[in-house]
Symmetry: C2
Subunit: 466 residues, 2 copies
């Protein structure tokens, strides 16, 4: 059943490539930047646009569900019946900010195809995840009259802000989100060797502000008797790592779980990138932290601390002889099992307050505390993804660890307890940087893959329940 | 002669207060921000405006003289004859940038009078210096038919950028600028106790850039194997001072000249501000660096290093999980005799390059190297300023040291060798900060003072040459 029906839907989609691309580009023009309050109405406009598309395709209960932040987009198709499994599909429709804007070769919200690549903010992260599922379901419904499984679509609007309202949302909508399996569609596949991540790092995010005088001061008139807040910010930031990259916050590594030999071997095996390929991709000549552990361990099995932004005083051209009233920085720490994000937040704060002095005020705001996540390694939903990759890319995926975070995953895990896995439905780069793109060829292949997944899931879940 | 003639000119000015204020406010509306290339034409417009005003008053040779940067404004009145001394008057018509704009209570280029204060960028620093001299000469010419001394007006357009082109300008225009005395009009007077600074700190300004990857990277995907340039910037900035405020760059203090007991006693005597008054003015609760030296010594007789600006990564609202491609900071160091700015620049660079590592590139750009300045303590031009203060403020000035810098002073000193001093022609605050203002009452008094100065200078210089 699967192969023939899937092929009909795929043929249907292939015959409508121009239409699939035009719709995707329309979605990409909406600047749904969730981290910046100035774009609130654009995030909402994007949600409405997707709701309308979902309803047009034939989903029911399509709606924007409000949260204290940006809305969730929800729609369902449950006519496969109670003997068929229900899959909850997750993707997010919000996007990263675009600065530094000057580094974009084409406007981030005017999608442009160059050299077989679609450039725009959100192509990779994660509007392709939204779009591939919508278009796969549309093709299946058009050719098969029904979906092979029951489907609930859940598209988040605040993933790029760390999903601050999703924990309470998931808790309050457990019945709505109930399902037999969960598929997270966020991030690319590697066409050479697909992977299925089963472990992601948690995250603690914090903002630190140091305040001095109540107004900016002339550095000639006041310099020598005023404690400059930038200097303390420098001392704090400079205190986080030793020269090898080891984090110096006392207690930071205490709960880091050492990988078993089996897991370490699997991690090394799944690490398919050569050093030259990886450094070229990163745009660096030399790696950092090499004495700490192997590269895949550092990237996925060890925690990190990165200052993502720093500011204070004059940043324009030329000089300004000022002692600024304040300075600050933003930090994210990536955590691994079994680090506890609340405990790490407290250790971070305690470390910063060792810099306390009468001359400057220190404020630490812990903004995100997401635990590390471990997902299914053996389950029918994982097998459905494996068969999808085998069919579309010619090989099964390696199960691996990721360095990034998936806050929503931990919330699903804690609250809904649904077996979950993830799939990439595009390939590309630049998710949090200028010139984000996906490969045009794999944009279409991602829709094929989503079609296959729905049919394979009906097979693997049926086998599981038999 | 002096008293009667000066009084006639003062009466003339007093009868035209509304006109003096209207003209000043028109000058203040021109955003002559010299540090930002975007304002280049506004700086030029300001120069043209002053040239026109100067010519209208009766000066000759009025013109804009080009430099590699912003133009100098020049005008002269030499009809007092060869038996009268010639005074070169220096002020600057460029202004500081206005950011953070949000902290201004009224728009910086829309002069506003509130509570007896004139608020606008440039009121204090230094358009009042330009205006008081122009209006004093206008009043004297209108009432006396001539000025009591020969006058050359030299208004700079790039003081706030550190006068990068003035050294060559002064060297190339020695004949034009030749004079018997030089009066620098930049900065306020203290109406309670006027001072005449005789020592100012030099300045080394530098910009430091640290480069890592060739594009911004996702901190989840790359975090742990990429050296974050913000971290190195933090370590550099954090390395400049110990907890007492002492600068840790090796060799930095080697040439600092210790004050003689006489000079130290004079410095303490001239330090009229109470601790409570000073901290209130600075907007702080606690002073910094107290174990190093007394406050007036730290502010004027010891060198400083202040980071005036720092940047890198994401500075907007919310979080962005990025490892930025670069980060940087701006530094100014204030030098005292006998520190050599070129040597200090090299020590600074050498210190930063101790942080060199294969993972990040460090660039240090030394932008300004001005030596510390020592001016006349006993000279007829100083005596003319003393008599001016005695008449307008009721007391003679204390000779003192200043913490700020006066790059042009060192250039005049080195190249022209003219005896020089300075005078404040206004009172106010906020010269390099939001809500810059001068007191309205002292705006008018500054014009009176300039009138007195010209007459007193004819007396004291005549006595000197007799």
């Amino acid at each position: 059943m699967s192969t023939t029906s899937a092929q009909a839907a795929i043929d249907y989609a292939h015959a409508r490539r121009a239409e699939l691309m035009a719709g995707f580009q329309e979605l990409l023009t909406i600047p749904s930047i969730s981290t910046d309050p100035a774009y609130k109405t654009e995030v909402e406009r994007c949600a409405d646009w997707i709701v309308a598309e979902m309803a047009r395709i034939g989903f029911q209960q399509c709606r924007r569900i409000p949260t204290a932040g940006h809305p969730v987009v929800y729609g369902e198709w449950l006519e496969a019946g109670p003997d068929q499994p229900t899959v909850l599909i997750y993707a997010h429709y919000d996007v990263q900010p675009v600065d530094p804007l000057g580094l974009w070769q084409s406007s981030p919200f005017e999608p442009t195809i160059r050299d077989g690549k679609i450039f725009a903010r959100g192509t990779l992260d994660d509007k392709s995840g939204v779009w591939a599922n919508l278009k796969a379901c549309e093709a299946i419904l058009a050719t098969d009259g029904k979906l092979p499984v029951n489907v609930k679509l859940f598209f988040e609007g605040e993933e790029e802000t760390g999903s601050p309202n999703m924990q309470s949302f998931v808790e309050e909508h457990q019945a709505l989100l109930a399902a037999d399996a969960l598929l997270i569609c966020d991030g690319p596949f590697d066409p050479e060797q697909p992977t299925i991540p089963y472990a992601l790092r948690g995250m603690v995010a914090a903002e630190v502000l140091v305040r001095g005088a109540d107004h900016d001061l002339h550095s000639g008139v006041f310099g020598g008797a005023i404690h400059n807040p930038i200097h303390l910010v420098g001392q704090m930031v400079g205190s986080f790592h030793d020269a090898n990259g080891r984090i110096l916050i006392p207690g930071f590594y205490d709960r880091v779980r050492k990988l078993s030999e089996t897991e370490l071997a699997a991690l090394q095996e799944a690490w398919t990138l050569s050093r030259a390929t990886w450094t070229a991709k990163a745009g660096v000549k030399h790696l950092w932290g090499e004495t700490l552990a192997s590269q895949p361990e550092r990237l996925t099995a060890l925690p990190t601390l990165d200052v993502n932004g720093i500011w204070g005083g004059y940043q324009g051209q030329g000089i300004k002889t000022v002692i600024p009233a304040q300075a600050g920085f933003k930090v994210t720490m990536r955590l691994v099992a079994d680090q506890d994000p609340h405990e790490i937040g407290e250790l971070f704060k305690a470390h910063l307050f060792t810099f306390a002095c009468p001359t400057l005020a220190i404020e630490v705001d812990i903004q995100i505390t997401d635990p590390p996540l471990t997902m299914a390694r053996e389950h029918p939903v994982v097998e459905a993804v494996q068969r999808t990759f085998a069919t579309t890319l010619g090989k099964r995926a390696l199960l691996t660890r990721l360095g990034g975070s998936l806050p929503i995953g931990g919330m699903f895990q804690q609250t809904l307890g649904i077996p979950m896995t993830s799939i990439g439905l595009c390939s590309g780069a630049g998710g949090h940087a200028p010139n984000e793109y996906i490969n045009e060829e794999h944009f279409y292949l991602g829709i094929d893959a989503a079609i296959h997944f729905y049919y394979y899931l009906a097979e693997t879940m049926a086998g599981a329940s038999a």
